[in-house]
Symmetry: D2
Subunit: 354 residues, 4 copies
């Protein structure tokens, strides 16, 4: 597709959520892509600027298509489709897309190799097991080769992205005890989406913090699948998410035990080596502490490595913007790879601070 001379024609299904709006933000400034379809079943007929006034300038500039129902998409004019639909609804829609259309899913519907695991955690049968077999789990830096040739990429969840970037290389190299991993994660509210829930109201979130989904969050099996694969044996992990009164950002504070003969500096060296040439992942120097505000609005991930006071243990700190590297940015990064473009195109946004 890189050899064609038209821009990539992009459809965004589920454009009325925060990840949809973020895709529009990124793709309207993308040198090699053009948005040709936007869907939002309940807001069909409206302009995107009506749903997201902050994008109104964009609508004018670029004449974005109006929102339509998902089944009104004219697939003939689409090269790549992003799916930002609620879980359980992507299977059917994705199965309808012509074979030549590349599919990039931001929902959990294609993240699990084993449809049974999906079914167990999401409470519904997997609706497209055949498609599942060709799906690639798209944590870009760790699956680049598979993503390049893929037709269907399942983008990781925001928490798994933040957690796996530091953990997978360490698990693969056998540096840490993979059956004792404790992930204390903190997320901004946009991760819960734009749906109406009492727990997402300003007055319920501001000026307070709390855990949720303790020992029962659906990102736990997703993390476990990847760690198990990296470590070569099935494991469970502690994954404990907390809600923060911020819009964007995930911080994963990860507590690990070192394997015999391994020192903390070996962890940092391994990660520094793996990510040495990565444009979006930085391993910080000794003593540097990553903060979510250092990556707000950008596709970067920052990773810190610390010695624990407890002997033979280390602490990993990983931060991303949940809507960018944790969702829409990584999705665009994957599109670039799938379509033969430079991986960084359209992702040059720098962090916005303060």
């Amino acid at each position: 597709m890189a050899s064609t001379n038209h821009p990539i024609r992009v459809a965004i299904l589920g454009a009325s959520g925060y990840t949809g709006a973020e895709l529009v933000r990124l793709l309207t400034r993308h040198a090699g892509a053009s948005i040709v379809a936007l869907t939002a079943d309940r807001k069909a007929g409206q302009s995107l600027g009506a749903v997201f006034p902050h994008l109104a300038a964009v609508v004018d500039d670029r004449a974005l298509p109006p929102l339509t129902a998902a089944d009104e998409v004219d697939w003939d004019g689409v090269d790549v489709a992003f799916f930002g639909l609620p879980h359980g609804t992507t299977h059917a829609v994705a199965a309808q897309a012509p074979e030549r259309v590349k599919l990039i899913d931001l929902s959990p519907d294609f993240r699990f190799t084993d449809p049974e695991t999906y079914s167990l955690w999401y409470g519904i049968p997997h609706g497209a097991p055949a498609l599942q077999r060709e799906a690639v789990y798209g944590l870009t830096e760790l699956a680049r080769a598979e993503i390049v040739g893929a037709r269907l990429v399942a983008c990781p969840g925001c928490y798994p992205t933040a957690s796996l970037l530091p953990l997978v290389p360490l698990a693969e190299a056998g540096l840490i005890a993979i059956d004792e991993i404790i992930i204390d994660a903190k997320s901004g509210v946009s991760g819960a989406g734009r749906g109406l829930k009492e727990a997402s109201l300003y007055a319920e979130v501001a000026e307070g913090v709390h855990a949720y989904g303790v020992a029962a969050h659906r990102h736990a099996p997703e993390i476990e699948q990847a760690i198990s694969r990296a470590g070569g044996r099935p494991v469970t992990v502690n994954f404990t998410p907390h809600l923060m009164p911020i819009n964007r950002g995930i911080l994963a504070s990860i507590y690990v035990r070192l394997n015999d003969g391994v020192e903390v500096e070996d962890l940092r060296a391994r990660l520094a080596s793996v990510y040495a040439d990565e444009p979006f992942v930085r391993v910080l120097g000794e003593g540097q502490v990553p903060a979510t505000r250092h990556v707000r609005g950008s596709n970067h991930a920052l990773i810190g490595v610390f010695k624990d006071r407890l002997p033979r243990r280390a602490i990993l700190m990983s931060v991303i913007d949940n809507l960018v590297k944790g969702a829409s940015g990584q999705a665009v990064q994957n599109m670039n790879l799938m379509c033969g473009l430079e991986e960084t195109v359209g992702l040059g946004q720098q962090p916005l601070f303060p």
Copy 2:
């Protein structure tokens, strides 16, 4: 003192910080106490209402004394002195107080049984080792008997209060592996005080989260001292504090390994039993998640107990308001005990939500 018929005459040394203001908030509505002296060296001569306009109504109502320098306190008219001074400065001032004055310190200056530990972590020699020997570590619920008869009570730090309320009873009972405790703590900004630091500016804190003092925070040895004493042998702990964009509140998410033969419900049962009759500590039922906003402005602590996905492990969640139970509220609670008053006097404030 309870038998006298005058209210307890209270001096607050270091009244221009947030803990000082919080002491005033609590003590001006305290039925058995009267504030007779307020000090703030750099603001001497000002009214407290000028320094804290939210207390201006109180100043009018109760005719609070003006701020003076610490060395202007007329000790003859003082029964109890609260010290909210910077660490390293309390030793000298406390040593000057007459023997009959009860001393309640909110700084770390008297928290360590071993002056060497204090000196090691705070970088200065202990200035009053003799006084140290009579100091009681005032985590009220766990040291009530000692507090009643004490002349000098060192109030615990905010993080230690949140961490030790769930941990000490479990360590004492031998239910958890005390040398593997991981405390991922989240705190509001008021814990850093009213001093001018770039890291405390609104624009540096809002819309972001980050860890700080990783493996090096001064509350770690304080927690270790108490766990070591409870468990009968010296241990270190993982204590990892994080700064949250909230004014008030601490959440300690604590990851523990169960000792052999112990189940998660044994932990809950032990804590429920220990705190059954406590007015300020509540152990939540299964599945209930404590949130800092549930205790904002009140002297309560809430504790949740959860099964981990990792086998043989549990998660403890503990929340307090760092300025109340984590500082000034606990200090007043201790004053009540030391002076023979009902322990709850002046601490009836309910949480303010939203």
Copy 3:
């Protein structure tokens, strides 16, 4: 009623909203009242602690009644009923209460002397015009005599409370041009209630400000009714509310033209005189700027008076906590008056800062 020796038996209808929770917060510590009924139609059967976990400690302490449907209230055991129901629903319920029960309404249903005005702005007919005739508009400091003998008090809206406290005494005294009043008001989010609205989501509110209801907010006619009455002729006002990313607090910045011969200091003098002995209203000295955080959680109002750069004009600044003086606190203040209690009982909460 003050002469009886039982506490006032209180019913709270509509206890699952923020104003309901705030009534519970205040009344559980009220020395002369006891909550005997709590209603919330959609949450009937639940405990209040399940709906508002921050009140759980209270539930235990005081054995609050469970939530019931509004029509399950046993009126025989009720002396005073607070109505925190959605507008349009209070008329019918209030009409069912026995004559001997005192009624305190926090909704707009009884705020308008003229049922037509109500009908015009709320889009429904007034359902209890007979009751309306005995309703007193309960801005406590300015209607104390009428409130004392009233059976039905309609508590003012939050914005009107903040606006009218400074404006009415000036309009009555003929000091300002009442047909040119501009009220730029800023409110926290709790004023919008706990209902599920996209506009109340954390991510839609945090890190931004905007106006709403420009020239069309329902508190405008309420303010106009009071100013017109005070000034002796019908007027309209500019009332422009803005949503702030805070939980609690209203700041009304009011721009007024001085009448001939009047100076700014005359305004301050008038207000200082009117409110000289008021426990909850303070007129600040020259140059002192009121802030919402100075009254957070308390029943206080602070008023500042400033000279404008524009000749012959002044600026009034007024702050309250919208849930306390702007709703539940003023309701309790009115209850105290109606029942012959000291007006300040149960309202001693000091501001919570930070």
Copy 4:
């Protein structure tokens, strides 16, 4: 300069403040500019990434120069200098720059045509009255022709930018009464800079709002200068700024009286006409309310026009990001004009929401 084939060589003097960081954010992605010098006297010797970790990725990518003292700048290699220095310090430094270097000042030092006005409001004599005479007040959309040929541009303050964009065209057209303008402005905290002030601490700002500088803010005379010029006679204005608990954003709510024969729609039509082809200023349709979050991180301004309830009056609402259109973005926009580049280069950042 546009005809040369090297990128514009830019020096940023005062790079350790928020406007300096924002200049770096914008200029590192600017296709026609290259940063060759960064100064920060008190942080000389540090890397910018050490001072602003969120820019650390940029430092690596582009090899930014280290921070130096202002007097170490090698002017031979500089084409354009941005001054983000404290007021009162720019005069001397700017006077040292060679004649061929274009100067863009973000401080107030060159904003006043009359050095006496500067001196009166800033309390110090004007240090470079000769330079002042060639300074252009750089509100880009309203002074484009002058900016193109200017050597020295004084960028407007953030509040004046938000206020003057709607007001100047209306004053010029004689549509509004210019001696009765009331500007109630709301700003985020970043406008106060990164300096250490108690009033900028998180705990002093969060969860509250208040006015400041009432009738005495230094942006008042700046606004008055522009309105007076546009209206052809000297006027004063009401300008009342308020501090909001947000990082970025200004909302100016402006209350104006219509001149005889003018209707509200005439105001909207005038503004729509003036800004019809502007890339960064949008006049919203009837009923659309601008919000600061719609422009966060972008160089856009949004303007709404509303009918007042008061007869013959209108309300203007204007929003910008104070650090972009209100400071660094407008500065870059001016640089583009001064250097013959397309005005929008480097300013394509879209708003970041949520």
